[in-house]
Amino acid sequence: MARDSTAAPADRSPASASKSAFPWIFTAAFAVSVALSLRAAQVDPRLLVESAALANVVKFVRGMFPPQLSREFLGLMLRPALETVQISVMGTAIAILIGVPLGLVATASLTWRGVLHERASRVGRWALGLVPYILSRAVLSVFRSIPEYVWAFMFVRAVGLGPFPGVLAIGVAYGGMLGKVYSEILDSVNPRPLETLQAAGASRLGVVLYGLVPQALPNVIAYTLYRWECAIRASAILGFVGAGGLGQQIELSMRMFQFDEVLTLLAILFVLVATVDFISARIRAWVA
């Protein structure tokens, strides 16, 4: 009986055994592109140690100490800090609202391929499956290929300064990422349990509920939480274009050369990010 396990993989495709030149080609291409980029991106470490640059760095760092810890300043920053968290939470919530429906339609196993569509007609598969599938993939791709920073810039123009454009920017850009990754998670589940349920006479919804969802859900939750962590960082950056939160305060302090305030603000941001990391790690460990 023990021989069985060794006998089974023998009839797999022989192509996997043959050595591929791909790793070598890839390494060479990578080396060439680094060499070319080094020039094009004007990488010049000497600029960092030039006396003028060094003087600026020293001025900047000196100005940071001691950090601004006056009760008045900290009290004033409480609101922007809270706002940063709120932007990230609302942004992620909107991203989920965008990502879930588009992600479901962008999942091949739900729209046109695999065990759920065994009896679908060719026309039905195209009109009701493949076409919406391609459309939602395209929309998701546009949403996530435009950086949240650019989205924020456009939304500031549209709805004015404040946290709301930041929320919209995160919601749209991250909605595109969530939808794409949701569809990938759903399409990468082990199909065997699905076939088993189908073979026992389960309906399509039954197959989804007992086969697809339980396999995918922990990864979906984990990735959503990870995006929320990123959203906290992003909401700080978005403040630079006037979308509220800590970022806007950092930008103001920078412009006023109040580097002591900048250090305090960065510390607050660090604490926020670390807290969110901690919370999300705990939740992920719990659902895994």
Binding site: D11, P193, G201, G206
Partner: protein, 274 residues
């Protein structure tokens, strides 16, 4: 129960998995399928559990041709067939109770199915099924925390909850140790005997097949090589069945040498030197 006429299955890549198989299986019959790996046994079973459609030939279930069934009829027919696979095909992250109760999905409404994930619907039935397969008390364990043998029992418990007329077991014991293999084969045999279910089993082990089944079908190159009572299966027939397949020939040599992998659980095979 099953009537197969000239079944043939060619996959998309042009490989012929099942070439030409015709046979009839009656209600309540127990049949073992043996043959070298790649002979088409698994493909045949996937046709028999109605998840794979044959390229040619006809499959009739209780006199009704499967190809002519509507979607709803196909689903109903599937609920009457329980399949146990080589790999357990369970959802590891779900608790055992849900994997077992998934046997009910063929008759449950979506609402019942959904609410059962929150509060198991008929947990007592699942508990009884687990007791019958010898792992009571594992009801709320996470499925991926169980051993391979225990998971195979969960898969059997699911089929018990499904309560089909036909049980198809595709190499159910190829990933467990010999003593457990005997336990699982006898368990499936006894369970289907009690409730008069038809039992079809793919087996890698010739000894298990010839000991526990009254009818042996040898499959080679997608065709029926022989279809006989175990007493009529000679060592020459077996040698012909497995010719050219090194691993399986080694199995025959081992039996020939009098090595008894299953101890006293399998009777000595006729025609083999003792």
């Amino acid at each position: 129960m099953y009537e197969l006429r000239g079944l043939r299955k060619v996959f998309g890549d042009g490989s012929v998995a099942v070439d030409d198989i015709s046979l009839t299986v009656g209600r309540g019959e127990h049949v073992a399928f043996i043959g070298p790996s790649g002979a088409g046994k698994t493909t045949l079973f996937r046709i028999l559990n109605l998840t794979l459609r044959p390229t040619e030939g006809t499959l009739a279930l209780d006199g009704r041709e499967v190809a002519a069934l509507s979607d709803a009829e196909l689903r109903r027919a599937r609920t009457r067939i329980g399949t146990i696979y080589q790999q357990q095909n369970l959802v590891g992250r779900l608790r055992v109770v849900h994997n077992v109760l998934a046997g009910n999905l063929g008759r449950w409404s979506t609402l019942t199915a959904l609410s059962s994930l929150v509060r198991p619907h008929g947990a007592a039935d699942a508990g009884r099924a687990l007791a019958r397969v010898g792992i009571p008390g594992k009801l709320y364990a996470r499925t991926d925390e169980l051993s391979g043998g225990q998971q195979q029992r969960v898969a059997i418990a699911r089929v018990l909850v499904q309560d089909p007329d036909i049980i198809l077991a595709d190499e159910p014991v190829s990933s467990v140790d010999p003593s457990l293999a005997v336990t699982i084969v006898t368990l499936l045999r006894d369970l289907s005997h009690e409730s008069r279910k038809t039992l079809l089993m793919n087996l890698h082990s010739v000894e298990l097949a010839l000991t526990y089944f009254p009818r042996i079908v040898g499959i080679r190159n997608g065709r029926v090589h022989f279809d006989l009572a175990p007493g009529k299966v000679s060592s020459e027939l077996l040698a012909g069945l497995y010719a050219g397949h090194r691993d399986e020939e080694a199995q025959l040599e081992r039996i020939q040498d009098g090595e008894r992998l299953y101890g006293g659980a399998c009777r000595p095979l006729a025609g083999f030197g003792q």
